[in-house]
């Protein structure tokens, strides 16, 4: 059929398409062109600037190996850079002024030749399922908690070789002089979760619902529902490193 003939056909709309079809179409497009971000198609840019995969791209039934499998879903378009998350993190976890466990990055992105948009991107430890920091640590000072998958630190074992800092694809680690050890986000495990709190300090402080924290292995959880919305597009940072992060980005 020629394209002129196609134009003559009546548009049936997308409403009648089964969800599976739409999902397949979306996935097909994304795997070729890049990432759908805030309504803008950022194709032909490097993966560093336009990282993203559709959820389930490689596996239709994602397995969450931990219970609870802690995860954070970041609704990126809601972030207004108020930095309350950073403030709460610093206070809760005694983060010194020269370091950070989480940060809001910003970038002026070109939407089209006449329009630019300020984009904010909260970043933190991705508590990867294949954490390069854990693999490289010579003394197991950093390790993945076998129950909940949180990447933690045993400060007293840290020799300060900084290999984990070099290996982390997310710049999530810094050397804390006070501990003479590497420090990093542990989803507030020692300061909040182990004391019965349900949310991390940053998620609790966020006024815009950007940071959503919970057990992604639980289909009734907020994070599961946010990530598994029909036709939802979510992405992770630097998927090319194979780190399998547990911090997902999406819009909403």
């Amino acid at each position: 059929m020629k394209i002129e003939d196609l134009n003559k056909l009546e548009n049936e709309g997308t409403d009648s398409l089964p969800s599976e079809e739409r999902r397949n179409f979306l996935r097909f497009g994304l795997s070729i062109t890049g990432v759908f971000l805030g309504g803008s198609l950022l194709s032909l840019t490097s993966t560093r600037n336009a990282q993203g995969v559709t959820l389930n791209q490689f596996d239709d039934a994602p397995k969450y190996p931990y219970k609870p499998h802690y995860s954070m879903i970041i609704l990126q378009n809601r972030c207004i850079d108020c930095e309350r998350c950073m403030e709460a993190c610093t206070k809760t976890n005694n983060v010194p002024s020269y370091g950070f466990r989480t940060k809001i990055l910003e970038q002026m992105q070109t939407i089209n030749p006449t329009r630019k948009e300020q984009v904010f991107m909260p970043v933190l430890c991705n508590h990867c399922n294949r954490p390069s920091c854990v693999r490289v640590c010579p003394t197991s000072a950093t390790y993945k908690n076998k129950t909940n998958g949180i990447v933690m630190m045993d400060y007293k074992k840290c020799i300060g070789c900084k290999t984990c800092m070099a290996a982390c694809p997310y710049n999530a680690r810094y050397f804390k002089e006070e501990n003479r050890a590497i420090d990093k986000c542990n989803f507030c495990f020692d300061t909040r979760l182990s004391r019965g709190e349900k949310l991390t300090a940053c998620a609790n402080a966020c006024p815009a619902g950007v940071r959503n924290f919970g057990d992604i292995s639980d289909p009734d959880s907020n994070v599961y529902r946010l990530l598994h919305r029909p036709d939802n597009v979510a992405w992770v940072l630097r998927p090319e490193t194979g780190s399998l992060p547990n911090v997902f980005y999406t819009v909403g």
Binding site: T47, R48, V123, V136, C158, G160, K162, P169, G242, S243
Partner: protein, 395 residues
């Protein structure tokens, strides 16, 4: 039963001159100054004394450590090959190479001990809490084992127990090769650093070990005869020529590896690797790369060796010296370029090339390696010089 060797048999009295003592003292002081700088850094905190940052945590101390460790591997391997296959022409240099392999790895240990923040915890938790997936753990463990083997080997050589020495030499060489490729893998398995990531670096490091080892063998043999103020005997000169052949071959192979590595960066793959390669080819590291690493480190020495036909001791010495300078800069370039592109380049004003300039303290700590290796070389010539001169093949 092992006899305690007699120092009188091994020492070289002709080296015991006041001038040589002063030079030995100079190197010892250099090492002490470096150690002092390292202690100072411990006291004020590495973040005040060293120029490394969160985004660029490794600098000249890691690269200089790698430089000495790689040189040590090369010396150990060339010595082991000479000893095992006996009768080959490099054998006259082999005993000296064993000792120098120990001297250079001691230089490497000196530097890394001051590079890491908590060396005391390393001693404890490397044993109590090992992580067998960590290349750093394997590298440290294997280099330590290699040193143990080589100490024993050298002791046996001094006692003229050559058969057992060869066995220890082989064990030392195996430990050194495994340690060396683990050192390569420390960088090569970091998927988050695309400039390093890939299968080439471990074999590249091994090739650089042969290159640096051959160069070091020539340089130290040259000085060993210079301080005695005598001409090289024929067998030693032939040994040096064989080291020269290894040097020429490895200069060629490392050049080939370097060329294809860079072509691969530009052929595709991750953008960050290309941006890092740009830093070397046309960016802030370009002078290091083109002038020191490529021109003086690879091309000129190869040309000198070819033109002189390995007939001139002086030319071989110049070629070897340039090679080692090139290798030193090459390690620095590799370490810095691998981290020069920040994870979130372009976000929050993060540049595409981070800046790193070693601090004075870091440069002083670097001196530790040269001080230790230099002082040990001269002490070795003084007390074990005759053993080095025996130049036996232990086959």
């Amino acid at each position: 039963m092992i006899n305690i060797f007699a120092i009188a048999d091994s020492q070289e009295e002709s080296v015991a001159t006041p001038a040589l003592n002063r030079i030995t003292l100079f190197f010892a002081l250099l090492a002490l100054v470096g150690i002092g700088a390292g202690l100072y850094a411990q006291m004020v905190g590495h973040h005040h004394a060293y120029a490394n940052t969160r985004e660029l945590p490794w600098g000249i101390l890691i690269s200089t450590y790698a430089f000495f460790a790689i040189t040590s591997t090369g010396l150990c391997l060339l010595a082991a090959i000479s000893h095992i296959f006996g009768g080959n022409q490099m054998a006259p240099l082999a005993n000296r190479m064993v000792f120098l392999s120990i001297a250079t790895i001691m230089g490497a240990f000196g530097i890394i001990g001051m590079e890491i923040e908590n060396p005391h915890r390393m001693l404890i938790y490397n044993m109590l809490s090992p992580n067998l997936t960590s290349n750093i753990w394997w590298m440290g463990t294997l280099y330590s084992m290699a040193v143990g083997f080589m100490f024993l080997e050298f002791y046996l050589i001094l006692n003229k127990q050559y058969k057992q020495a060869v066995t220890l030499g082989v064990m030392g060489a195996i430990a050194e090769v495994l340690a060396n490729t683990n050192l390569g893998a420390v960088f090569a398995t970091q998927a988050g650093r695309p400039f390093w990531y890939g299968a080439q670096l471990p074999i590249f490091f091994l090739a650089c070990a042969f290159l640096s080892g051959a160069a070091a063998a020539i340089i130290f043999t040259h000085f060993a005869f210079k301080i005695r103020d005598i001409e090289l005997d024929e067998t030693t000169f032939t040994g040096m020529q064989t080291a020269g052949k290894v040097l020429a071959l490895m200069l060629f192979l490392v050049s080939v590896a370097t060329i294809w590595r860079f072509i691969a960066y530009y052929a595709g793959g991750e953008e960050a690797a290309r941006v890092a390669a740009d830093a070397l080819v046309s960016g802030p590291l370009a002078i290091n790369f083109w002038v020191f690493e490529i021109t003086f480190g690879l091309a000129v020495p190869l040309a000198l060796l070819m033109m002189s036909g390995l007939k001139s001791r002086q030319m071989m010495y110049y070629a070897a010296l340039l090679t080692l300078i090139g290798q030193f800069v090459s390690r620095y370039d590799l370490v810095v370029a691998g981290q020069i592109v920040p994870e979130f380049a372009g976000w929050s004003g993060m540049p595409f090339n981070l800046r790193y300039m070693p601090s004075i303290t870091e440069i002083l700590v670097t001196c530790t390696g040269f001080g230790i290796a230099g002082a040990l070389f001269l002490i070795g010539e003084r007390f074990f010089g005759r053993t080095f001169g025996e130049g036996s093949s232990h086959h």
